[in-house]
């Protein structure tokens, strides 16, 4: 069934190495997205129509465009036209952050607009100043609303890293392909065992994260 190939040479180790590459790119992108998304999200309710319009447009574009096209655009497109030569990993982090920032900003916007104005007022009526109101009353509520959803975004990002092999990054799926290719003659059934292993690896990473999100949701919203 192909599972025996895992023990051949350093195959299993290589798969884990590929997984590490995927995780590194997604975690780096998540961190960037969290920071930029929070900033942009708090601007999205801005009264200025231009700021609002630009941010809405950005969100729409990112939502409608397949991530693979963005990856090709960032990696192959920029090299010739802009004359910049970025590594495939940099291009991936850029594209994933570009995508994640848009999604995250929408989450922040939603969480912010879901907090009634009277929450600010009741806090200020108690004598808390603007900063105290933000730190002790508003932000904790926003984080509670957002965390489960942003954790979801993390798992989606990890899953989507399977696309980055298309711009030449050797991540877990690519490693799997290489193992299958190398052993095609001796083990024609390799595809099942190896891809199944890749599936299990993704699952093993994403499942606890998804569980954590469910747990937090229950804890805070019950």
């Amino acid at each position: 069934m192909g599972f025996e190939l895992l023990l051949k040479g350093n195959n299993l180790g290589r798969l884990f190495g590929g997984l590490a590459v995927a995780l590194k790119i997604s975690l780096l992108s998540v961190c960037i997205s969290l920071i930029l998304g929070t900033v942009l999200g708090s601007l999205m309710n801005d009264r200025h129509p231009l700021i609002k319009g630009v941010l809405r447009g950005y969100l729409e574009i990112v939502r409608l465009m397949p991530q693979l096209v963005l990856l090709f655009l960032a990696y192959f497109g920029t090299t010739r036209v802009l004359g910049i030569n970025i590594s495939a990993e940099t291009a991936s982090v850029f594209v994933f952050s570009f995508w994640g920032t848009a999604e995250m900003s929408d989450l922040v916007r939603g969480a912010l607009s879901g907090i009634p104005a009277a929450q600010y007022e009741s806090s200020m009526a108690l004598g808390l100043n603007d900063v105290q109101t933000l730190v002790f009353v508003i932000l904790p509520q926003i984080i509670r609303r957002m965390l489960p959803l942003s954790i979801n975004l993390i798992t989606r990002m990890i899953k989507t890293t399977s696309l980055i092999m298309m711009i030449g990054i050797v991540e877990v799926l690519k490693v799997g392909q290489q193992i299958i290719e190398a052993n095609r003659k001796i083990d024609p059934n390799a595809a099942f065992g190896i891809y199944f292993t890749v599936f299990v690896l993704y699952f093993a990473v994403c499942w606890p994260i998804s569980k954590l999100s469910k747990y937090l949701e229950k804890k805070w919203e019950a």
């Binding site: 009277a118 200020m124 009526a125 004598g127 808390l128 009353v137």
Partner: protein, 245 residues
């Protein structure tokens, strides 16, 4: 008795709509003033202008002889002295009852947390909610939430308490448990301005009742005169709208 609050000629407009039209009101220490009037007459806006949640277009609010300046960087210092309870309770949903109560005393008054908790428990016991101290607001009934909100305002030991239709969102059977707390506070000598639609309660709790309509004070007086011998036609009509005969 000493005058604690002096409101002079405050006016407020939303675009073309005049909400408050040169209102004056003086409140003495320990006095309970109840404001009644039809919906949209500006009662709530009036309360919100007192602690500068709304900015007035004209006039001034003087607390303890000092004009409240809405532009003041230390406005929060003034708001400490003015407690406010809202129609929709507005407890902080991510905090337990006890945490709701000690937040402002600890952060604003820099009170020792242990002491603040002791005071919170004492007040909770007084309103019959000691057993709920570790519950979250979502686990309480509307009446319980509102009693906690009153205690939260009391924790700052304010000089004056503003109650903005605090029973309007409650089921009828919960109104009484909240109003009894307010009656208790009145007996204790708390200075309060109360906006309410509960006329029998107004009669019981008020030292003075004020009728606002169209952004102006139409009539005011002691509860007995106010309800039994209204002088103006508008107040007569308003009072009549509550009776079924």
């Amino acid at each position: 008795m000493d005058e604690i609050l002096n409101i002079r000629g405050i006016s407020k407009k939303y675009e073309d709509l005049v909400v408050l039209d040169h209102l004056d009101l003086r409140v003495r220490s320990g006095e309970v003033v109840v404001i009644v009037g039809p919906s949209g007459c500006g009662k709530s806006t009036f309360l919100r202008c007192i602690n500068a949640l709304e900015k007035v277009d004209d006039g001034e609010v003087i607390l303890d002889g000092k004009v409240i300046d809405p532009q003041d960087k230390h406005l929060s210092k003034v708001r400490e002295k003015i407690g406010m309870v809202f129609q929709s309770y507005e407890l902080f949903p991510h905090k337990t009852v006890l945490q709701n109560l000690v937040l402002a005393p600890v952060r604003v008054k820099k009170m020792n947390r242990k002491e603040a908790e002791k005071e919170a428990l004492r007040l909770l016991e007084r309103v019959g909610l000691l057993s709920k101290k570790n519950n979250y607001p979502r686990q309480l009934s509307g009446g319980q939430k509102q009693r906690v909100a009153i205690v939260r305002a009391l924790m700052m030991n304010p000089e004056i308490l503003l109650l903005d239709e605090i029973t309007a969102a409650l089921d009828p059977e919960m109104v009484r448990e909240v109003l009894e707390v307010v009656l208790d506070l009145a007996k204790e000598g708390r200075t309060m301005i109360i906006v309410t639609h509960e006329l029998p309660f107004a009669k019981a709790v008020a030292d003075r009742v004020v009728f606002i309509d169209g952004g102006r004070i139409i009539e005011e007086g002691e509860p007995k005169d106010f309800f039994e011998h209204p002088k103006t036609e508008r107040l007569r009509k308003f009072l009549h709208s509550f009776t079924y005969e």
